[in-house]
Amino acid sequence: MPTMRALGPGSLSSFLKTVLDLVWILLLVVLAILAASLLYGVLAAVNPALPFARLALFEGLDPLQAWAVVLVRLLTAFLFVAGVQVIVSRLREIFATLKAGDPFHPENVTRLRVVAIGLAWLELVRYAVWILGALLPPPAAPDRPNLSLTAWFSVLVVVVLAEVFREGARLRREAELTI
């Protein structure tokens, strides 16, 4: 049975790199839209004469309160997508080395560490949203987040993987200088 190669040009890594490239572009567009929405939200909150400035999304909230809720949610989405963008960006760089057939590139250690920090960031954003949500009026307050053991486990796994790659990079360097 023919098996698909995992590394090198035309391999599974190559396919995943293409997928990550597309996701990266998509995330850039989403980030730009969120940034523009945030900016407009701030302007609309202070200037009721702007179109859509008099929001009536939440019952019992005046437009300023409604904008506060929307802005907090937009900011949350922005921070979350920015975290995902950083992770995808580093994954693209890692997969570029896998596509080139060079998995133990020394830079991959730092890239994996950034991915771990990014994953932790996404979790922390969830908790921050909940804390911030407690300050919002009741209809807009988000639900209490559950502690995701899977997410923190993933963070630790990626930290360990980064060290595995460090060892791989060291062995590669040794092999290069073995004559």
Binding site: R173, E174, L177, T178, I179
Partner: protein, 72 residues
């Protein structure tokens, strides 16, 4: 690395250039330069055998141990 490859001394004694040794052993000149400059981390038996064969020497003639204080 306290172990030093004394390739430069043997090349002078045999009146042989690095390029000629590379040609005769099948090793690249770049790898031989790494050996000569003391940047190599390890030496394969096959490399050692090829060098000894072409330089007509024993492994002990190619390697020397530098005292710790002479390093760095």
């Amino acid at each position: 690395m306290p172990i030093r490859v004394t390739l430069d001394r043997l090349l002078v004694q045999r009146r042989m250039s690095l390029a000629e040794l590379a040609d005769r052993t099948g090793l690249t000149a770049a790898n031989l330069a790494i050996l000569k400059d003391g940047e190599a981390r390890a030496l394969r038996f096959s490399t050692l055998e090829a060098l000894c064969r072409e330089l007509d020497c024993e492994p002990g003639d190619l390697l020397s141990r530098e005292p710790e204080e002479r390093r760095a």
